[in-house]
Amino acid sequence: MTLSPRNTLSLSRADRQLAAVLRLCALLAVVVVLLILLFLFGESWPILSHVPVWRFLSDDSWHPGQALYDMSPMLTATVLSSAGALLLAVPLGIASALFSSYYASPGLAAVYRRLIELLAGIPSVVYGFWGLTTLAPLLGQWHPPGVSLLSATLVLALMVLPTVALTAEAALLAVPQHYYRCAAALGLSRWSSLVGVVLPAARTGIIAGALLAAARAIGETMAVLMVAGNVVQMPHSLFDSVRTLTANIALEMAYAMGDHRAALFVSGLALMVLVLALVGLADAYKGQAAHD
């Protein structure tokens, strides 16, 4: 006989009521996600029905008024700024987690952790303010115009750093203390114990955190809009102004009509697909790691 809550526990009345409420909540969450997808499809249908999908990547430019819908510069900007942000934030975040869980004294680690949590709680628009008034002018002195792919990447990196640091620390704490003791008993130094044993053991959690951070970076709108310069162009260097997909939606939604409006919903759909792909990747990775 297989064991399941159904034949090992007889549910009391209160349990049954709770189960019903929980089931309803779970159903609600699923329905909301499905409805959002449906809504995105519905709103983008007016254009998808007569413009083939490949034109969104191969048109000559983004001029929705003239029925030109090339989103590839904006898609590139989104992907590049998010990837760059991860490239900076992941090593720093892991280093930060290692510092607070294995190198700092308990008192210092507690203060440090509070600071990182505070960093996580700063509203994105405040990061945007800082980027606009401090970072971009500074970069502008070095290489004008300042508002660029580079400034967007840096601000995004700062924003997702706490996400990476906190999830990496949680993953490190979940590694049994025993591994570290065992590594020390083999005469490994602290650094080699961490790199050789503890980090590989925490790998799954760290990667899951990085993907979460990636999803956050892709979806970020306000801060990027304030520092990226918002010129629709394929970036040729880090110092070029760019416009991300999210910024494009925020900038044009107010006056978009007809096919233009529907095209913006298509870009929203593209973002959603990008994030779903990331989540799928994370799941596939976790599944694979579980079989290791």
Partner: protein, 292 residues
Amino acid sequence: MNPFLLDSELPADPNSAEAQQNAYTLGPIQAGPACCEPTPLISVEALSLSYAGKPALSDISLDIYQGCITALIGPSGCGKTSFLSALNRLTDLIPGCRVSGRIHYKSRDIHATGQDVQGLRRDIGMIFQKPTPFPLSIRRNIELPLREHGMRHAADLEQRVQQVLQDVGLWAEVKDRLDAPAQALSGGQQQRLCIARALALQPKVLLMDEPCSALDPLSSGVVEDLIQSLRGRYTVVIVTHNLAQARRIANYAGFFWVGEQAGCLVEFGRCRQIFETPRHELTAAYVNGARG
């Protein structure tokens, strides 16, 4: 010359009859000097140990003899594991742990300032109750500490991995899947891998903290045979709750008991004497199963 290689590590012929044997066979462990020449290798004098001010061990003095198996017996909570950890300074990892008294190894006090702790732990290895293969491949598990201690050449590493896996009788079972994850091995195999990992560093002393208690009787027997075979070449200190096992394998035995405040050593002597003609009535009661 590679300082790691011994005469016994001449390349073994993989097609020899010995290597073809599929059953549990011990590899060519070098015969050591006859055991029980009572030459002290480690001398413990008046060792006391406390955790955050709470005493755990008080005033332990005993000698660990070279090439012999010394069993430490006694009820749980009497400080046997703490005693073992003090012998290779793993107590350093526990916050608030204070050790006083002297432990002489190679004619110096291992708790003296300036002691090379990594080198000490390389000389005095430790096996834990719970088999703890790192989340790496079987091969990497053994190579990691070797690399840390300066062995770089692939051929040397390869040879040492094979050597120690033969020593613990695991070679025939895993030679075709050295790059498979170590955590996929069975409990008994994992524990033998941990012993192989410790042996790879060519320690002088092996500390074993209930190495068989997490294993099924069959695997436990295999590991016990293995420990027997280490006699002579290595000095073994083993904590065990299995009195019959202690009696079977040990040359010397120490009986620990919970004293008025902390654990203390009641009696230490030749294994036979402890089990057959104990001097102390507590020992007699414990080994005969009347107490504890």
